[in-house]
């Protein structure tokens, strides 16, 4: 087994810098808000360093962006990293707060050797603008120690690994404080010296736990690692140092998240039709936007144009400090049917969904309706309007069996205000609805009004005359 450990020295900084367009100086301060824990390169150039008091840092760089360390947030960001790493490696272990462990011995065949695995990961890290120190070792702990010391090299040689470990000072080996002091009092300075101690002596004179730890580093004691399971949903979050007041400013981080989603969907070989976008505000309830497409979709640009439309319709209620995109509904992907081999004919099915999604995003979902006849004798109930849905099903009812009806139906019957010029067919008695209380008892006629309109008129029980439709 060969393990790769990725140590992210400033994950939170990387995460925040990814969602801002311009690079400004950023620092992370500890929970109490007194001390700087991490500083980004821009801040370091200006003289701000880790361990500095916040007041000093602010007086050095007045426009410093300050983020408070948050354990929950860090855990979430770490899981985000595990999610992309899962595309390259199957056995992943989260090591909070800032490490990921992956078993890569089994990947060598797939990628064609260890250097290829190493290179792939380095490319991905660079593309994601993440700083990570990798380390390879024959045990999880060895990989971790090497990665955290920043001396990781691409080698699967156990001897080399042990040699590097051996040169490591005791302080870097992450013993607890008491053990570390005791080892130093024994006159030991490097791990190699500790390795040389006889195990029985070590267990007796130090503690069995220390022996177990040393043996786990060396690989003579098993160190099982439970693999991490990726969740069955997509979630990405962008946090902003400065409040974003224009929806335009949200498009940049959204673009990145959506292309991430596209890659995720491609990787899953699935599509989605519903995105949930949550915009967090500092002093108000978060805004929740549900973006729906009319059909399965996976392209980032399609989602982005829908979201852009939505933003145009619905301006931001308050400045945004957080943006989270969640997708929980995944649909199986269908092979494009309309495409011919040379891609000459456009895929109409896809174009249909694109158009309808655009219209629904701008006009609202209730603005579009599809019509269908209903089995009822009462004219106002003989039709229905439903949400638009793409169906390939063919009408099976023999259409010619339907009675003669006008093409226009009025929203409600209008009183007839003139004596029609000519009377045609009639009466057609429609009586029904006694079963649901919406009683209708009418005699329908077709008549021509004085201005030439052909109307569908009826007389009700109370001898009133009404127009109910036009033969358009």
């Amino acid at each position: 087994m060969l393990w790769l450990y990725l140590h992210f020295p400033h994950l939170l900084l990387d995460h925040i810098r990814r969602s801002s367009e311009k690079a400004s100086a950023l620092v992370i301060v500890e929970d109490s808000g007194q001390k700087v824990i991490q500083a980004c390169p821009a801040a370091r150039d200006l003289g701000v360093g880790a361990g500095m008091r916040l007041k000093t840092a602010v007086s050095l760089v007045p426009e410093l962006g300050i983020i408070r360390a948050d354990q929950q947030q860090e855990a979430r960001i770490l899981e985000d990293q595990a999610r992309w790493l899962y595309r390259y490696a199957a056995h992943i272990v989260l090591v909070p707060p800032n490490g990921l462990l992956a078993e890569i011995g089994s990947l060598q065949r797939l990628y064609g050797g260890l250097p290829a695995v190493w290179q792939t990961l380095e490319e991905v890290l660079q593309e994601r603008r993440l700083t990570a120190w990798p380390g390879i070792g024959h045990t999880p702990l060895a990989a971790r120690l090497i990665a955290r010391s920043g001396k990781g090299t691409c080698t699967s040689d156990k001897g080399h690994t042990l040699q590097v470990l051996g040169q490591m000072p005791l302080l870097a080996a992450e013993f607890d404080e008491r053990t570390c002091t005791r080892l130093q009092r024994l006159g030991l300075n490097t791990l190699a010296e500790v390795f040389r101690l006889p195990p029985a002596d070590m267990a007796r004179r130090l503690s069995p736990e220390t022996l177990a730890y040393i043996q786990k580093i060396q690989g003579s004691r098993p160190d099982p690692q439970a693999p991490w399971q990726p969740p069955h949903y997509f979630r990405q979050q962008a946090d902003f140092v400065q409040d974003i007041e224009q929806s335009q400013g949200l498009l940049f981080p959204l673009q990145r998240i959506l292309s991430e989603l596209e890659r995720d969907l491609c990787w899953r070989q699935q599509d989605t039709d519903c995105l949930l976008l949550v915009l967090g505000h500092r002093h108000a309830e978060p805004t929740r936007l549900r973006i729906r497409t009319s059909g399965p979709e996976h392209r980032a640009e399609a989602f982005l144009s829908l979201i852009r439309l939505r933003f145009e319709q619905q301006p931001l209620q308050a400045p945004v400090i957080l943006l989270r995109l969640t997708v929980k509904r995944f649909l199986g992907r269908e092979a494009p049917s309309g495409q011919d081999l040379l891609g000459e004919s456009q895929d109409l099915n896809e174009a249909w969904h694109t158009l309808l999604s655009r219209l629904q995003a701008r006009l609202g979902e209730n603005a579009l309706k599809q019509l269908a006849p209903q089995a009822d004798h009462r004219p106002e109930r003989a039709w229905s309007a439903s949400e638009v849905r793409r169906t390939q099903h063919v009408l099976t009812t023999a259409a010619s069996h339907l009675p003669q009806r006008p093409l226009w139906l009025l929203q409600g019957p209008q009183p007839l205000t003139e004596i029609p010029q000519v009377w045609f067919t009639g009466p057609e008695r429609i009586s029904g609805g006694w079963w649901d209380g919406q009683r209708v008892h009418r005699d329908y006629y077709i008549a021509q009004l004085n201005n030439g309109q052909l109307a569908w008129v009826f007389r009700d029980v109370r001898e009133g005359w009404f127009v109910h439709g036009w033969f358009g």
């Binding site: 456009q346 109409l348 174009a351 249909w352 694109t354 158009l355 309808l356 655009r358 219209l359 701008r362 006009l363 603005a367 579009l368 309706k369 599809q370 019509l371 006849p373 209903q374 039709w383 229905s384 169906t391 390939q392 099903h393 063919v394 009408l395 009812t397 259409a399 339907l402 009675p403 003669q404 009806r405 006008p406 093409l407 226009w408 139906l409 009025l410 929203q411 007839l416 003139e418 004596i419 000519v422 009377w423 045609f424 067919t425 009639g426 009466p427 006629y445 077709i446 021509q448 201005n451 030439g452 309109q453 052909l454 109307a455 007389r459 001898e463 439709g469 036009w470 033969f471 358009g472």
Partner: protein
Amino acid sequence: MSELINTLIQDARVWQGQRHIKSTQPAEPTGYQALDNQLGGIGWPRGALSECLLDAPGIGELTLLMPLMQRLSQAGKTVFWLNPPHTPYAPALARGDIDLNQVIMVHTEDKGDFLWTLENCLRSPVTGLVMAWPGKLAAREIRRLQLAAEAGSNVCVLFRERRYAEQNSPAALRLELEPGEQQSLNINVLKRRGSWPGQHCSLAITHRANLLHHEAPRVVQGPWPTLAR
């Protein structure tokens, strides 16, 4: 012929109406031979706006489009009804052999949305026919729609009031509709791109109410006295 005219013709400085080539713009037959003949034998122009100007609904304006709607919907093209003044009655459409899965009714709240929707429908390859009831439109807006129509290749019919007949419009085809004798529909061609306007025709479309036009209308004696008018 005078010397002057001969010179002008030889210099090709005078355009001669009778010689113009029959327009080759794409079009969809209307389904009514009499009307097709008046429209140069081609019918509704595709990729351009058409206007129907009429006073009141119920004179056969939809029946005029039924053959086109039927053909396009069955060919899998979508038919949009944009802001219709009344409800398109589904049983009647189904009876007319229109595939209702392809019929989509859209209602917009303001003019901006209306123009945006219409433009998007016109540009899409899935659209076969758009029927729109725009109300008041500025010439600039019609021009914008005309450009959108040119980007696609579908039929777009705007239904407008007859008083706009005086106003000029960039639409490629403008028809004035009025009720004629015996429930027929009289059509005046007000404008046709690439040709002369002024043609008339009358379509017998009594089948919309299943009336036989040669039969004398059977008068139904209504019990009228209660309706004082």
